[in-house]
């Protein structure tokens, strides 16, 4: 596998360095510095000894790891079929399906947890199986989008050739597609592992009381017991475990990256044979049912009152008086606008930094791997730790930033950045080096060859990454709920507050807001993919490629 590393290696060092400097600086200032400040302040010999000698610490660590591994494996298995049909087939409702999957991924856990609780049979409530089922439904989007985006670029003719030679559909999948997909599979796996490893809301709502991940234990120590030192030790332990797993995954991703004759994008087709049609229909409906059931349950609950059906929750949303003289002080429109503004900024930050980071990672060797892992660290680090770290780091001029409005979108961008990078790097790495060689042979400088050959592959995965980033920011609750805020209530926070108060009307309003958030997310995802499909078409036309149909 000599050509496993893309020929983009030949890019001059200073270009690679120039690309890497932005992401590295962002990571250093907004992640490493606050995290280090908190550790330096809170950790000492006795907090380490106390925390590590506590038996509960290791029980929690073990549970954290095994539930994350189980959730990841099951999600990957369940997600392959929908990823395949979404990448390869055109069918009615395809974009809607992707939109709904993504919405599930970004909805606040407090909403999804409650919806699941209403759906699951009582015997499954509050067990680890309920937790894993919810993790699977939550993270399906990651498989479908990450693996799907890669799958779209795999040449169909290899599969068709094998099929023509008599290989069964299953053989084609196992022998041809699966090995080629491996980089994107390990990328998706790493993201899902990170998310389930740091699971917070799902476990609190669906797990039996006292079931704890390290993330929950860090939060509990830091906020409920005031044991910042113990919390800091645990968040280092959390990172240590993660470092091992992510390191392994990145290595696997590189080892399996091979140059495939990647196409800018394959055209999706309609299912032809009856068997194919049955397969696509079955998978699409099954996936939709898995995701739409909790969403529907949620929407329905917004119309429930204590005596049947009612639209009062919807008509009294916002500034209206709930009762004469009583207002809630929650304006959903304002919250939605806040959320959209945050999302726009977070996405811009994440996409710009993510694009240059991906190019640098794909072009650099060992250093690139380091940057790749580094960018993943923020999602693997306890949100409380980063939030508190920022609080005590950005507190004196010239970096008195803790009251700045942009700190929240920066926090979102930290979480979204790895998604942009992961959806992009895999594609960039697989660009056929012979293309660059050809360009070089024709007299292009290495930088120019890279610009003309590698960079065009950036846009498709970047658009997918951008949509994910925006969606993540819309639903983000954990990381930034630990930053103090002044008048910038977002939708997830408003939902959480409504569901945290007594009164059937308020509960229904919480679900109404959750429905609005879902619709906003689905529209965003569909809008972006429409926009992209159209520009993608224009792009290909501009490059003189024929659209074969």
């Amino acid at each position: 596998m000599k050509n496993g590393v893309s020929a983009a290696n030949r890019l001059p060092r200073r270009v690679v360095a120039a690309l890497a400097v932005g992401p590295i600086a962002g990571l250093a200032v907004f992640y490493l510095w606050p995290f280090a400040t908190l550790l330096a302040r809170a950790i000492n010999g006795s907090t380490v000894a106390d925390t590590l000698s506590r038996g509960a610490t290791w029980d929690v660590a073990w549970f954290t790891v095994w539930q994350a591994v189980a959730s990841t494996v099951i999600t990957m298995l369940v997600g392959l079929a929908p990823a395949y049909i979404v990448a390869r087939f055109e069918f009615p409702g395809r974009q809607l399906l992707v939109g709904v999957l993504t919405a599930i991924f970004v909805l606040p856990t407090v909403v999804m947890g409650a919806a699941f609780l209403a759906l699951l049979p009582d015997s499954l409530d509050r067990t680890v199986w309920a937790v894993i089922a919810a993790h699977v439904a939550f993270n399906l989007a990651v498989v479908v989008r990450t693996v799907g985006a890669f799958w779209e670029h795999l040449p169909i003719d290899m599969e068709s050739a094998a099929a023509t030679l008599g290989a069964s559909r299953w053989r084609v999948f196992v022998d041809i597609s699966l090995p080629l997909l491996r980089p994107s599979l390990s990328a998706a796996g790493a993201i899902i592992f990170l998310f389930t490893f740091t699971s917070f809301g799902v476990i609190r709502i669906l797990g039996s009381a006292g079931t704890r991940t390290l993330e929950i234990e860090v939060w509990r120590r830091a906020t409920q017991l005031g044991d910042i030192g113990g919390a800091a030790v645990l968040s280092v332990l959390q990172l240590a475990v993660l470092a091992v797993v992510v390191g392994w995954s990145t290595r696997a991703q590189r080892r399996h990256a091979r140059a495939v004759d990647l196409r800018p994008e394959q055209d999706r087709r309609r299912a032809k044979s009856p068997g194919e049609r049955r397969f696509v229909t079955l998978v699409a409906i099954g996936t939709a049912a898995l995701c739409i059931a909790p969403l529907a349950a949620m929407a329905i609950r917004s119309f429930r009152s204590s005596s049947g059906w009612s639209t009062t929750a919807w008509t009294t949303l916002g500034k209206a008086e709930v009762r004469p003289g009583i207002r809630l002080g929650l304006d959903p429109v304002e919250a939605l606008v806040n959320s959209i503004q945050n999302a726009a900024w977070a996405t811009s930050f994440a996409v710009v930094l993510g694009a240059v980071a991906s190019l640098a990672i794909a072009a650099a060797g060992r250093g690139g791997r380091l940057l790749d892992v580094g960018l993943m660290l923020p999602i693997g680090t306890s949100a409380v730790t980063i939030g508190f770290g920022m609080l005590i780091t950005f507190d004196t001029p010239p970096v008195d930033w803790r009251a700045e409005w942009w700190l929240v979108p920066v926090g979102h961008a930290l979480v979204a950045l790895p998604f942009v990078v992961r959806t992009t790097v895999g594609v960039l790495r697989s660009v056929d080096p012979s293309l660059q060689d050809a360009a070089a042979t024709l007299g292009a400088s290495p930088t120019r060859a890279w610009w003309n050959v590698v960079v065009p592959f950036l846009w498709r995965p970047l658009a997918v990454g951008a949509a994910l980033a925006a969606a993540i920011s819309l639903g983000e609750f954990g990381a930034t709920s630990f930053l103090s805020r002044s008048g910038g209530e977002t939708l997830p926070i408003a939902i959480d507050e409504l569901l945290g108060r007594t009164g059937s009307l308020l509960q229904a309003q919480g679900y109404a807001l959750a429905t609005i958030l879902t619709v906003a997310t689905v529209s965003l995802v569909i809008g972006v993919s429409r926009f992209h499909d159209v520009t993608g078409l224009a792009h290909r036309r501009a490059n003189g490629q024929t659209v074969d149909r």
């Binding site: 609780l117 509990r220 830091a222 017991l225 207002r327 803790r402 009251a403 509960q507 809008g527 520009t535």
Partner: protein, 396 residues
């Protein structure tokens, strides 16, 4: 087909434009909404003692052109996340304070009470704001030991019960409100099943009420902790373990948080199967006020002898740049004008006993004469051990 790219790009650019135009309203160097309201509505001629007049001012959109704008200071009130951020009568009362004193008030929401306190403890001397609202008696000792409040500020408490003031003998903070955490019951369930409503903590362990109670995990929930403290108050530091063993044998359900318990497991609110839930003494009036469709009677009741009292405090944060203005705000938070807004906005009772409660509270809330409490120092010393011991016993 041709219109699609235009619509899509318009959408995308619209998003970006919306974001760009918004950042000026958020940035620190432009006046905030509350500052603007204050400048527009602070005619010196207005009678500052008339709350009717001053609270109405922000609604009139006429800039006060012929009056000079008074220079004023804006201070930050740090609070927990259930404090309304805008548009309610409690916010109008804060605007009235600005009109009366030319001190602007900006709200900073810092999370739940525990999170808010941890942040304050990390930033002692260089606080995020000037005044903090909402540290309760289960967190009070930690707050005082960590020194988050400025010493030696005079609050001149009026009409505040002596037992509340006794919790802060050095006067670091002002008691501003109180409330109770109590076992709530579903009135309809007990009527339908012709079952007597339990009347004591001990009753809850009676087999007649098997599998009927849902509580919160004290490790992760403030009402859950309050209920554990109520049982410690009743049965003593050596006796509560036996009581919880009985509860466990009697099928108590433990969930992680209030939302999950009340909306997930309580028969009245969530279609769960538990007619007894740990919630607040003010939950029944909230059920009336926020009922859909409207109703005149509370569907739930409170078992008085199970109530644990939570008392909340406000104080000046140590290290503030505006100690005088901050102290003035805390005094205002204790005044009748502000305290009258607490019940319907925060669902707590005013600490100022001169303030009358709204009708719904008179009708449906239970304010027990003798709620349980524990010494804040005792709570602070034992919280972690009690929770660990409880977890091993009940969840282990």
């Amino acid at each position: 087909m041709r219109t699609q790219p235009i619509i899509a790009s318009a959408l995308a650019f619209g998003l970006i434009a919306a974001a760009c135009s918004s950042d000026s309203s958020n940035s620190a160097d432009t006046p905030t909404a509350s500052e603007l309201t204050a400048t527009e509505s602070a005619p010196p001629a207005a009678d500052p003692t008339d709350p009717e007049l001053t609270t109405d001012q922000p609604d009139t959109d006429q800039p006060d052109t012929d009056q000079p704008v008074e220079p004023f200071t804006t201070i930050t009130l740090v609070t927990y996340d259930s404090f309304p951020e805008a548009d309610t009568s409690i916010n109008a009362a804060l605007d009235a304070f600005t009109d009366q004193t030319a001190i602007g008030v900006e709200l900073l929401v810092a999370g739940d009470t525990g999170t808010m306190l941890s942040k304050a403890a990390l930033t002692v001397g260089n606080p995020e704001g000037d005044v903090m609202w909402g540290i309760d008696n289960t967190f009070l000792s930690r707050a005082l030991n960590d020194g988050i409040f400025e010493q030696g500020v005079l609050f001149d408490p009026e009409n505040v019960p002596a037992e509340f003031l006794a919790l802060v003998p050095n006067g670091e903070a002002l008691p501003v409100d109180f409330g109770d955490v109590c076992v709530n019951y579903d009135i309809g369930y007990f009527a339908e099943n012709e079952l007597d409503v339990p009347t004591s903590l001990q009753d809850l362990a009676d087999p007649a009420y098997r599998d009927l109670l849902v509580v919160q995990n004290p490790a992760t929930s403030s009402p859950g902790l309050a209920f554990l403290l109520a049982s410690i108050d009743e049965f003593g530091a050596e006796g509560w373990q036996a009581y919880w063993q009985q509860l466990k044998d009697n099928g108590v359900l433990v969930v992680d948080g209030w939302t999950d318990a009340y909306y997930g497991s309580f028969t009245w609110a969530g279609g769960g199967d538990r007619p007894l839930v740990v919630s607040y003494g003010s939950s029944p009036p909230a059920e009336v006020i926020f009922a859909d469709p409207p109703r005149d009677d509370a569907p739930t009741g409170v078992i008085e002898s199970t109530c644990f009292r939570q008392i909340e405090f406000a104080g000046v944060l140590a290290g503030t740049d505006h100690p005088d203005e901050a102290a003035e705000l805390v005094r205002f938070l204790g005044s009748e004008q502000f305290q009258a807004e607490l019940a319907l906005n925060l669902f707590v009772y005013p600490a100022n006993s001169a303030v009358a409660l709204p009708q719904e509270f008179d009708d449906f809330a239970v304010v027990p004469d003798t709620s349980r409490t524990l010494d804040p120092d005792l709570i602070d010393e034992n919280r972690s051990d009690w929770i660990d011991e409880w977890s091993t016993l009940v969840l282990g």
